[in-house]
Symmetry: C2
Subunit: 295 residues, 2 copies
């Protein structure tokens, strides 16, 4: 675990440096807009998706310097989605990562535009990444857009998620929602690492299956934490799901079954890693980290 902590710390350092260089300063006009973007991007997030880009990329032999910008771009998409997800018309949340959400700290119009600009900057970052060939860049833009958009990416998942509030839905629908809402972007983070490292298509497919399990594991543990932890520990409003009558792994399976499902999903991720003829210690540790996370 010590090794993983150091790895996460190093990834965060690299990706934060990239983000700081890519996002206009808080003094650049329009200053409010750039301060709002920075408020949300530099809020002490886990940087899980960037860490996945680095972990998979390095596993397949990519240099760190070739992974940093794609990792930053994927984190920008994640940050934009949180800003918009917290808006009054969406989840209407005041707290994120232990502090005021973007529209609370600034205002709603600025938060909408900050999210919009972050999405734009994400694709610009990939397109202008001089470390990668043009072919790699267009593949990354295409894959990240598919994972972020609709009909089978993050935005589709958010739509399905809020439409399902207060409605009894099936396990299949719950899985579809989460596969789109969080799974697709976690998956593309892992795939991006493999693509940049020029892994072969079989390896990329295996990494996708590993990452699909990781995404599912992330969602189950998210539901478990929302049901069992306090707002103070999470740094975001706890118990939200039950109040919104949201279908979750906890509401559909109960706590004990949901924990068992998490364990099994962790094991399934590990099974995929065995197919890769390289040192996958780091990737296994990341799955273990998600299984055991406390916030």
């Amino acid at each position: 675990m010590k090794k993983l902590d150091a790895f996460f710390a190093e990834c965060t350092k690299i990706v934060d440096r990239e983000l700081d260089a890519l996002i206009p300063s808080g003094q650049t006009e329009p200053a409010n807009l750039h301060q709002a973007i920075r408020w949300s991007v530099f809020a002490g997030g886990k940087r899980l998706r960037p860490a996945l880009v680095f972990a998979v990329g390095q596993t397949f032999g990519a240099a760190k310097k070739d992974l940093g910008r794609a990792a930053a771009a994927i984190e920008m998409i994640h940050a934009y989605s949180l800003i918009h997800d917290d808006l009054p018309a969406m989840d209407d949340d005041d707290l994120r990562r232990g502090r005021a959400t973007c529209h609370k700290k600034f205002d709603e119009a600025t938060a909408i535009l900050a999210g919009d600009a972050l999405q734009t900057l994400a694709f610009q970052t990939i397109a202008e990444d001089a470390n990668l060939s043009a072919e790699t860049r267009v593949r990354l833009v295409s894959e990240i857009a598919q994972a972020a958009g609709t009909p089978s990416g993050m935005v589709a998942g958010q739509q399905l998620d809020f439409e399902a509030e207060g409605i009894k839905i099936s396990i299949e629908n719950l899985e579809r929602i989460h596969q789109n809402k969080t799974g697709a972007m976690i998956s593309v983070a892992a795939r991006a690492g493999a693509i940049i490292a020029e892994a072969d298509e079989t390896e990329i497919a295996t990494i996708s299956k590993y990452a699909a399990n990781l995404g599912l594991l992330f969602q189950i543990t998210d539901d478990l934490l929302d049901a069992t932890q306090t707002t103070e520990v999470l740094g975001k409003t706890a118990g939200k799901d039950a109040r919104a009558e949201k279908a979750t792994y906890v509401s559909l399976y109960g706590l004990i079954e949901a924990r068992r499902l998490a364990e099994n999903t962790y094991l399934a991720a590990g099974e995929e890693l065995k197919k890769i003829k390289l040192e996958t210690f780091l990737l296994d540790e990341i799955a273990d980290f998600i299984l055991r996370r406390k916030k």
Copy 2:
């Protein structure tokens, strides 16, 4: 003018066919999201930006089939910006192109996500455009993102615009706002046509100056129409600028001077076209069309 009408009609036909093929159907889940996107995209807009892609592209010898997807992508960015601009936290508008705005017809959350998904799909469309080389695609993603984002693109302009409401601003600031808010995307539409046609960098620079004048002309005539036309004719709420105490070319210059400025800007666009050693009749006609538009 007959020739220009036919040209606009043909551009609209091609780009609408592309948009219809690229945007998931209204039956595809999440159906509300895709219906909301289609509601806003197929609302009978002028398709001015796509027409510019075609007009400049064809002027420099590009085939129509190589221009359609980039034109569709630029229209998606435009459509997303209108959806978000109409939101209650932004311009709070109920009417767009003669019918209910997206959040009025659907709901606010769906409108936010429809805009988000359209932006994503725009970049995906460019990245996956098999008619263009990977190098051309990354250049287009980069240029369109710069024009759509911040600190010198559309989103920056929107932020500056709403921050300037009710405040006395200088002519220089007004021009900066509009150059960012509408000029940058009009400019990149023209540049995209030239880039796809593989015009040389001097020609692309000339086209940019032509397009900068076109963008300015568009904004001045927009302000004139808002001040002088009825809601029925415009298909969107008229007289908004005065009520919001917005700085406009009309409020800063008065009607007569604003009209003269429009004429001069039209002439300046024509001066740029004279530098191009090709038949530029169509590009001149487009400038003339913007000068004389009645809505």
